[in-house]
């Protein structure tokens, strides 16, 4: 039943997005594609944190794995795009499984520390093995608009379609997973590990599984982003990216898939908008390049002050029904025994 509902919603959204992509100009399409690529990655992270209660500051590294994996497959094996995207998710998932197993004993800040290490260390591999990964310059990725769309079809619209399709499929799959037995088990583990394991749940396995799922989403997001920006280079996968993903997940509303969309929109649009604003107000040089960064920080602080449970949580509070909160307030993660109202949280 839920599967059908999610699918119907996804198809409706797909139609709206397709119409939007035709109505909007090519730069908006490009931004739409960028947002969609981030949505895939942020959705995975929000499930990891909001549902399974683990924190990762290293999902940028899984995006790097997906991005480089996809780029190498495109360049050397010339695989079709849909296979490349699937494969990059699988490759990142495998990496996530290895890392998740190694990190299964770690909790809270220690797990965050280990993932932080991954985010810092991994991009430098590209410089170590410059022959395979192209060093600082990275690898260039290019896809062609399929012939059946005709020669005049705008390439950016095709990019938007590909990435939005990827993001929507990810969201549908995650939504179903969240409603399934696995999702319920994750929530049980998040709320109380001891109680969960007394009820017969394999806590470690569930946690590793959550890690694998979030890594797969990040991998797909990374490959989509590589296709959008036409390049994979270590400079793209710095710690800033990982923290950006985390920011987007928290700002959007942890555990909420719609929140991931809000967060990604903010992540992509706010810096661009602020840069343009600074430039059009005659700020030049160092000022116009620093002001947006500072203003972005201010926007984040304000959103967190006004909506402690993220944008989706805030929207729910303002417009939604009184009952179940859509998103977990960030401090709920610290609580060992949450109130019963969190039973129903999760995907939207």
């Amino acid at each position: 039943m839920t599967m059908v509902r999610h699918l119907a919603a996804a198809i409706a959204v797909a139609v709206i997005l397709a119409v939007l992509s035709i109505q909007l100009g090519s730069y908006r399409d490009y931004q739409m594609a960028e947002v969609a690529a981030y949505v895939a990655a942020v959705a995975g992270l929000t499930v990891l944190i909001g549902l399974s209660g683990q924190i990762s500051i290293g999902n940028g590294a899984f995006m790097a794995i997906g991005g480089y994996g996809g780029a190498l497959l495109l360049i050397h094996l010339n695989w079709p795009l849909e296979l490349v995207l699937l494969a990059s998710a699988v490759i990142a998932a495998a990496a996530g499984a290895i890392f998740g197993l190694a990190a299964a004993r770690l909790r809270g800040p220690y797990l965050a520390g280990a993932t932080l290490m991954l985010a810092v260390a991994l991009p430098s591999l590209a410089d170590q093995y410059a022959g395979a990964f192209g060093g600082d310059q990275g690898l260039s990725v290019s896809i062609n608009t399929p012939a059946f769309l005709g020669p005049t079809f705008p390439p950016t619209r095709w990019l938007a379609w590909v990435t939005c399709a990827g993001a929507l499929i990810t969201l549908v799959l995650l939504a179903n997973l969240g409603r399934s037995r696995v999702g319920r088990s994750w929530r049980a583990v998040r709320d109380d590990e001891v109680a969960a394991s007394l009820s017969g749940l394999n806590v470690a396995r569930l946690q590793v599984l959550a890690f694998v799922v979030s890594a797969a989403c990040a991998g797909l997001g990374g490959a989509l982003l590589a296709v959008v920006t036409t390049i994979v280079a270590p400079g793209a996968y710095t710690l800033t990216l990982s923290i950006g993903l985390l920011t987007a997940a928290v700002i959007g509303g942890l555990g909420s898939l719609l929140g991931a969309v809000w967060g990604s929109l903010l992540l992509v649009l706010v810096p661009t908008y602020l840069t343009n604003l600074a430039a059009s107000h005659g700020l030049s040089g160092a000022a116009s390049s620093s002001v947006p960064i500072a203003a972005y920080g201010v926007v984040l602080i304000i959103v967190m002050l006004v909506f402690p449970a993220g944008i989706q949580g805030g929207l729910r509070r303002l417009f939604g029904p009184a009952a179940p909160a859509a998103a977990v307030p960030i401090n709920a993660l610290r609580r060992r025994r949450p109130a019963s109202e969190h039973q129903e949280e999760g995907t939207t």
Binding site: Y27, D136, T156, T275, G285
Partner: protein, 444 residues
């Protein structure tokens, strides 16, 4: 969207007023007697009153010191041209965005410039790794990609990248000219290489190797611009007993090389690529790096005697007409920036763009600009001629050797020109550089 409509309305309004003014004015004075056809929106980024061009520049980050002056300097030249009649009456609008010298950001900002800001051309995009990220995109979108701020030989590929043109002396030619000088003046000495581990450094080393016998090279050490600890490389150069160190490095790493050598009491003769040898930028970097390490040094003392090359007139040559023009524009439009090599570079490349635009015609399409450069540009601001033709997209073809003396470049040799082939001769340029036009604006 609404905002841009309002802008559009404003632009249209200004355009109408300007055309009215032009129509009134033309009856009295004959400013443009030759061609009186109306100015039209002949290409993306071109309106009746403006030409909008864009660029990606490192305004913050590792490559920013010094290089962040280039785009403001080009813009100063454009403002000067705008104030003196513009290009066939159109004003140049130069929008340069910060890419932090990060190829991924370059891709994003260039998409923005092309798709949203609708620029006519990308001009002087800075950096080898950064620009490589967008060169395919620009060519497949048929956007002129002129005068890339990098001497990589990769821009000279007219069949694959017909819309891309280099400008500055390419690193292979530069390597050959530096290598030739070293071969003549440091015969039998032990030579060490220090270079950035990308196309910039590798092209330079390629040129050096064409001229310097392998037996003389005792060490070749590369650095990654993301890693500022270069003590291992400098130690290796010292251990190999290098008496001359040739450096293909950006200014920050030339400064680090100098400071690390100082710490190790290693004092080879430094020969540095033009890219990393601007005396004013270097002196500033040396002093600020030393300060961070708790030491005080004199920047000018540390750069004294560094050998380099230059393809633009020396800033110290105040009797040179180009330097006089540059100084005038600098003092009027960007007095807060130091009058250094980066500012000179930005002004010079801006001049070249105006040269090409004037040649492209009154109502140019994008292809017209490409055709104009393919037909060759006359020598102007550089000491050597351009290589531009339909089959060659290299820019400046030669340079003179110079030495840093009390914080300024002094010429120590004639202008030499060469090609990028292993055997192509290095010859003394027989022509002379034309003087700057009195108006400061090239003639069409």
């Amino acid at each position: 969207m609404r905002r841009s409509h309002r802008n559009l309305a404003a632009v249209a309004g200004i355009a109408a007023v300007a055309m009215l003014a032009a129509a009134c004015g033309s009856s009295g004075s004959s400013s443009k007697p030759s061609s009186s056809s109306a100015l039209t929106a002949s290409a993306p980024g071109i309106t009746a009153t403006t030409i909008t061009i864009g660029s990606h520049q490192p305004l913050t980050g590792v490559a920013a010191p010094g290089y962040d002056e280039i785009a403001p300097a080009s813009n100063a030249y454009f403002q000067y041209v705008n104030a003196h009649g513009g290009i066939y009456g159109r004003k140049i609008v130069y929008k340069y965005l910060n890419d932090q010298y990060d190829p991924t950001i370059t891709a994003t900002v260039v998409h923005q410039l092309v798709l949203q800001d609708n620029v006519y051309s990308i001009f002087n995009g800075l950096g080898t790794p950064t620009h490589l990220a967008v060169v395919k995109y620009l060519n497949s979108s048929k956007v002129p990609d002129v005068f890339v701020a990098s001497g990589c030989e990769c821009w000279n590929a007219p069949s694959t990248y017909p819309y891309t043109f280099g400008w500055q002396l390419d690193y292979v030619r530069e390597g050959k000219i530096l290598g030739n000088y070293i071969e003549q003046h440091f015969k039998g000495k032990k030579i060490g290489y220090f270079y950035q581990d990308d196309e910039f450094g590798m092209d330079g080393v390629k040129g050096l190797n064409y001229e310097i016998p392998k037996s003389q090279v005792v060490a070749a050490e590369s650095y990654n611009p993301a890693v500022i600890n270069i003590a291992p490389q400098v130690t290796a150069l010292k251990a190999a007993g290098a008496q001359v160190v040739v450096s293909f490095s950006v200014p920050a790493f030339t400064a680090l090389l100098r400071l690390n050598s100082l710490k190790l009491s290693f004092a080879p003769q430094l020969v540095v690529s033009d890219v990393g040898s601007d005396p004013i930028t270097l002196a500033g970097l040396l002093e600020s790096f030393a300060k961070q390490g708790g030491a005080t040094v004199s920047g000018n003392a540390l750069t004294q005697g560094i050998i380099t090359d230059s393809y633009l007139p020396s800033l110290g040559d105040t009797s040179n007409s180009w330097i006089q023009l540059f100084t005038k524009i600098h003092n009027q439009y960007i007095p807060k920036l130091p009058m250094d090599g980066n500012v000179g570079y930005g002004l010079a490349v801006g001049y070249t763009f105006v040269q090409a635009m004037l040649k492209a015609g009154r109502n140019p399409t994008r292809q017209d600009l490409v055709n104009a450069i393919n037909a060759g540009l006359p020598q102007g601001v550089a000491v050597a001629p351009y290589a531009y033709s339909a089959t060659n997209h290299d820019g400046i073809t030669g340079a003179y050797m110079a030495m840093i003396n009390s914080g300024a470049l002094t010429s120590i040799g004639p202008v030499q020109v060469t090609d990028t082939s292993p055997t192509g001769a290095i010859t003394t340029f027989s022509g002379t550089q034309p003087a700057a036009p009195a108006s400061g604006i090239p003639s069409p």
